[in-house]
């Protein structure tokens, strides 16, 4: 690979001039510029990002932290991040933490060691203390899940309100025995969605019953299945289920079918996220739509603004109830 020196030599100018052409400085004579561009083409020259990075001490790389790449909820958000980042000249370094603290440390150090300019975190399992420590010195944006107590900017939806809407929809349909399949309540979104669930019940004078609330350990299909199995095993069965993610809901639906029951006739079901799969189940899944692409795009924009020294503020985006066949 040719270097800037070789280009300079070939064009008969100094490296400084080549650099100026590369970076679109206006102070280069048209004639010189043409000479340099000619040399660049002939040598098939591509400027080394490494040299540039060292000099400018920025990498134009954004770290995106997710717990698992297999979760389709994150795919759309990443699409949004990538779209925005690319058009602004940034690339993204996708990092799966697997909820593993060792990996977390590796990724945090990538920012400390200047390999990445900032972190967009979507990982609810992340160590909040360390994240806040890091945020004191490096740009960090939280997306979807955030730390209530910290000072880190975030983009998210109103989870409590969204859950409230979901449950209210079930209540309006006449349901009184409504189960909640929630994930681990150490996650903020899980706590908030539970609050929304309880708020809706209380508003309609339906008692909140512990036996109708199930917390899963993880957020896979199987966890939804397991939850529904427990819920169906008891004497007092729910007539409707609100699952806090579509993946859980699909597991729930699977278990309902396996038990020989029908959705929505025997049990109504509502999910959360509007992942693309949710439209492929039979029946299709009623769900809460999160503006995932927009969330990602917004997070990337905030990050780049911050990198450019602009001041930024947290954003709460709108959700939407998508009524389909499962309710």
């Amino acid at each position: 690979m040719a270097t800037i020196q070789e280009v300079a030599k070939k064009a008969g100018v100094s490296v400084a001039t080549v650099s100026r052409v590369l970076n679109d400085h206006t102070t280069v004579a048209e004639k010189t510029k043409i000479k340099v561009e000619q040399a660049i083409k002939e040598l098939n020259y591509e400027p080394s990002v490494l040299g540039r990075n060292l000099r400018t001490s920025e990498s134009k790389l954004l770290l995106v932290l997710i717990p698992s790449i297999s979760n389709p909820f994150y795919s759309e958000i990443i699409n949004g991040i990538e779209e925005t980042a690319l058009t602004k000249g940034y690339n993204i370094l996708l990092c799966e933490t697997d909820s593993n603290p060792a990996r977390e440390t590796i990724y945090f150090n990538l920012v400390r060691s200047k390999l990445a300019d900032g972190i967009i975190s979507m990982d609810p399992t992340i160590n909040k203390v360390k994240l806040n420590e890091l945020a004191a010195n490096y740009p960090i944006i939280q997306c979807s899940e955030y730390d209530q107590d910290g000072a880190i900017a975030y983009v998210a939806i109103n989870n409590e309100l969204a859950a409230y809407h979901a449950v209210k929809h079930l209540i309006k349909l006449g349901h009184k025995k409504i189960a909640l399949v929630n994930s681990d309540e150490r996650f903020l979104y899980a706590r908030e969605r539970r609050q929304g669930y309880e708020k809706a019940l209380k508003e309609f004078n339906i008692p909140v019953q512990k036996q109708f609330i199930y917390n899963t350990k993880d957020v896979g299909f199987e966890d939804g299945q397991q939850a529904m199995k427990k819920l169906l095993d008891q004497d007092n069965r729910p007539t409707a289920v609100f699952a806090v993610s579509d993946i859980l809901a699909i597991g729930v639906m699977k278990q309902i079918h396996t038990s020989g029951l029908q959705v929505p006739n025997d049990i109504a079901l509502i999910g959360f996220d509007k992942i693309s799969f949710s439209n492929m189940t039979h029946p299709t899944l009623t769900t809460i739509s999160q503006p995932m692409f927009k969330m990602g795009a917004m997070a990337a924009t905030m990050m780049i603004d911050k990198l450019q020294g602009k001041s930024i503020e947290s954003v709460v985006l709108e959700h939407e109830l998508i009524i389909r066949e499962s309710t």
Copy 2:
């Protein structure tokens, strides 16, 4: 952030010695080493990857090219790549091409400009000519989809044999009217799987009928739905369907259900890939399992071996027929 100079000053040694401690050179006296490590700790020093990269002219970054992050088939492969890469000190730069040539160019230049050490490509839509050009100067591994004519190393399965197994399974079940829902045959895997399909039919003296073969434009659920709609609209309906991906198969299943028919009683169905969702449909999906994690791990190992100057060879991994409820 502290630099190596500051550490050297604090420890009362030269920067070279600090560098030696950092890189585990054995020629450092234990006493000196302790002094340096002490200084590193006190200053909270983290070596700049940028400086190191420039000097060693390697970035320890691997570019992973996929057409779309939303396709769960790639998730597991990426898991495998990441697992291997991380343990060997590499990070991965995940790049979604969206089958967009402009993005392709951006990503190719990332290697030319030394920001990444090599490319693992899983993109069937990639420009083969440009990829082969690049491969002349930079390390490239193909994963899953590869170029038959080129000289680039790959890791894949035997698609023809796998498709043959799938269709033979349907034939053994007594089916004679077997449809093929294939993707665009400009992709190698699509051509190979079609060959396997035809081979199985011919072996059992079943005529290959054009009306039973449908090629989708894209590889989403909707394409599977659409394909099955066409297949059901004709007078002579198939009694079994082989879809070349689980996602297509799930779309097919959806359409069968929508039409009031049952799987597998009215129409048997087999997919391909064994994505996690294939176990969540009702009925569960019979499919061909690809060793996705292993493919990813293997691709990463090959890449790193190549980077270290070792010679590498293409690998064909085993597939497996997973019989579940849809057949």
